[in-house]
């Protein structure tokens, strides 16, 4: 269906919903690279004006990628909850934005509607929103998930401890884990990106972390972020797997390029559930996403990268994850050029994820060929803290020496905790206090008081 609007002296026409969504997207390099971006600033705003008038119900009739061609579209369509949708069924996209921002609309009401929202509806609303709208609407919604602790409660901020090492040297990884724990980080997960994909090596890392977490009775979960088939192999070999990781994208073809499908993810989740290793809950999945991955895989179907990212969130939603992490600035400047584009994308992904009911965290990050620096990360970190982001990364000194990019540090988590009064997951916080790492008000105790077993008992 074509969409038209008269804006000023110009008449604008958009061939279909896919084109309208793409052209309404705030400027970013990846959409230009894909050739789907608006051709002028005015065309972009005209598209937004036109998009504001599209009824939400229309999104259930016109799919950006055909139902027959793509299992992600089929998932979105088949899982749509008409009952939950009823509250917003009469609204257009502009009215839906206003509803989200209304004093009277609470987070509980948004969560109740969530199952009736498609990723395309949520992406459409985000394209009309300014950064403050993305923050305000997301801040209303809490998404709580559980494995060995409780993530996502109000006033809490989790940290994934990311102790990577360029050659997977076990002692090097343990050194970074200890540093992170002693800085009070690691409640979201202790998660290693391995340098090698060998299931044997991954099994060793899993056993090392399991030993550490068990011995010190740390209420957290561990993960080796390797391909889901490797993790399944590890489970088969008896390795202690807490969370099952996978990178996912918003189209069937892009997921195929990652070597996954919905049925494979389902099978992996069932294997994880069968282990029964969660003590407080059974959210066993950990997903990572990021704008640009479909284009990078040549599998974007002419859809803009932000809408595709929201579709990846719909994939995640199917599997009740503990953590969903948008790795926002990792992909490089051809997709998100600078600090401004990375910031915007981080806020969009967090908003869309929360609207769809996901426990969203963000790897606030950039590469050295992007036009960004640590000040941009400070800004996005602060904005996401205000928006109620579930968790961030904790990398020693913000410098990932294996993946060669910059993220956020243990110290960054202390900055955010101080300025916004955010605390770790309650079970983990109690552990930090018990072992003498945190004192009053979530402050690090003087180092002298922290001569506990953690430092002396490890194989270093």
């Amino acid at each position: 269906m074509s969409h038209t609007i008269q804006a000023g002296r110009r008449f604008h026409q958009f061939a279909d919903l896919r084109e309208l969504l793409a052209k309404a997207t705030p400027a970013r390099s990846g959409d230009r690279l894909a050739g789907v971006a608006a051709e002028s600033a005015a065309e972009r705003v005209a598209a937004q004006m036109c998009l504001a008038e599209v009824p939400l119900a229309h999104f259930l009739e016109e799919w950006v990628i055909p139902y027959e061609e793509d299992e992600v579209t089929r998932l979105i369509c088949d899982r749509h909850d008409r009952g939950a949708f009823a509250v917003v069924a009469g609204m257009n996209v502009g009215e839906f934005r206003e509803w989200l921002l209304d004093y009277a609309t609470t987070g509980v009401e948004i969560a109740a509607v969530s199952g009736g929202l498609t990723p395309e509806m949520v992406a459409a609303a985000s394209k009309l929103m300014g950064n403050q709208d993305l923050i305000l609407a997301a801040s209303k919604v809490r998404v709580v998930s559980r494995f060995r602790n409780t993530q996502g409660l109000a006033g809490r901020l989790g940290v994934r401890l990311q102790p990577n090492h360029p050659t997977d040297d076990v002692r090097g990884i343990v050194a970074s884990i200890l540093d992170g724990l002693l800085y009070g980080c690691g409640d979201a997960v202790i998660g290693i990106n391995p340098a090698t994909d060998s299931p044997v090596a991954c099994g060793e890392l899993l056993r090392m972390m399991d030993e550490l977490v068990s011995r010190h009775e740390i209420p957290t979960q561990t993960c080796v972020l390797t391909h889901v088939t490797n993790t399944m192999q590890c489970i088969g070999a008896g390795a202690p797997v807490d969370l099952i990781f996978q990178s996912i994208a918003g189209t069937e073809a892009a997921n195929r390029s990652f070597g996954v499908s919905l049925s494979l993810l389902k099978e992996a989740r069932e294997m994880g559930l069968a282990l029964g290793r969660g003590t407080l809950g059974d959210n066993v999945m950990y997903f990572e996403t990021g704008q640009g991955s479909c284009l990078s895989a040549g599998a974007h179907h002419g859809v803009d990268q932000q809408t595709l990212e929201a579709r990846a969130h719909a994939v995640a939603r199917e599997f009740s994850p503990l953590l969903v992490n948008t790795v926002v600035g990792f992909i490089g400047p051809e997709y998100l050029y600078d600090g401004k584009q990375i910031t915007r994308a981080g806020l969009e992904d967090h908003f869309c994820g929360k609207m769809l009911g996901l426990p969203m965290g963000c790897d606030v990050c950039y590469t050295n060929h992007a036009e960004a620096d640590q000040d941009d990360m400070d800004n996005l970190l602060t904005l996401l803290g205000v928006a109620g982001c579930n968790f961030i990364m904790g990398v020693p000194g913000a410098d990932d020496i294996m993946l060669n990019y910059q993220s956020t540090s243990f110290h960054d988590s202390h900055y955010l905790r101080q300025v916004l009064g955010l605390r770790p997951a309650p079970e983990f916080e109690a552990w930090l206090e018990r072992v003498g790492i945190f004192g009053e008000g979530n402050r690090l105790l003087p180092a002298e008081a922290r001569r506990h077993g953690l430092l002396t008992s490890l194989p270093l």
Partner: protein, 254 residues
């Protein structure tokens, strides 16, 4: 400022552990050290590539060279349009087509990639070791192509134009904070337009503090020999001698 009493952890990893703190914030020295590392990495990404100077150095090693350019005009376009960095500009394509002879075993391509600093520091070191080894093994080499603004896949077009059975590309990797001058090596059996990255192999982190150039040369010699013997590259090429061999991992250069 408070020191962390676990400074000995620094001995186990190059990661930035035990930085100390003031309150919960970074000590000034650690903050400025990080900023300097980032500055060096940024400078490496934006450094001018002296292609002609590098070509002269390579000629002094006794090899013929060709100076070429990708279709990406300038650094900003190179960063924004990876597709343009994967193909030659028209003038370069004509130049290369003219010099194509009866086919060669191997064409070596050199480019600034994401770090001109890496190319200018490591390429001569690698090739001064590798070229004699290849000569000893009886390889027929094409001219060394020095390409401004190339991406990994540009070796496909160059290899095809020269009728090469194998192509080897050396280019600057995306600089990490502690590694602004790290070189990557990617090779492809039967380089032809449309090869995927799964059809290449990669040796990365070539720099004095990582895989030293002489060791990288020996490893490439062995890998190229195997590739020629088996008639393939990419995920099908396993090497028992070097268990850490990984298929092309483009995030480092793309």
């Amino acid at each position: 400022m408070k020191e962390d009493p676990w400074a000995r952890l620094k001995g186990f990893t190059p990661a930035r552990v035990a930085l100390g703190r003031s309150g919960g914030s970074l000590p000034t020295r650690a903050l400025l050290d990080f900023r300097m590392a980032h500055a060096l990495a940024k400078d490496a990404v934006h450094a001018e590539f002296d292609a002609a100077g590098l070509a002269l150095e390579l000629e002094s090693l006794g090899c013929a060279t060709r100076l070429l350019k990708s279709a990406a005009a300038g650094r900003a376009e190179y960063l924004l349009r990876p597709d343009l960095g994967r193909r030659l500009d028209d003038a370069s394509r004509e130049l290369l087509a003219e010099s194509a002879g009866g086919g060669v075993d191997l064409v070596i391509v050199v480019s600034d990639g994401l770090s001109a600093t890496a190319a200018s520091r490591q390429v001569v070191g690698v090739l001064s070791e590798l070229l004699p080894l290849l000569e000893q093994d009886g390889w027929r080499l094409g001219p060394v192509c020095v390409v401004e603004g190339g991406r990994v896949a540009i070796q496909d077009e160059i290899g095809e134009l020269l009728g090469a059975r194998l192509s080897l590309m050396l280019l600057g990797e995306r600089p990490g904070l502690g590694s602004p001058d790290s070189l990557g090596a990617y090779f492809t059996w039967e380089p032809r337009a449309g090869r995927s990255d799964a059809e290449r192999n990669c040796v990365s982190n070539i720099r004095p503090e990582g895989l030293v150039p002489a060791a990288a040369a020996r490893r490439l010699q062995a890998l190229l020999s195997n590739s020629r013997r088996l008639g393939l590259s990419g995920i099908g090429l396993k090497d028992e001698t070097f268990p850490a061999l990984i298929p092309a991992d483009d995030h480092r250069v793309e």
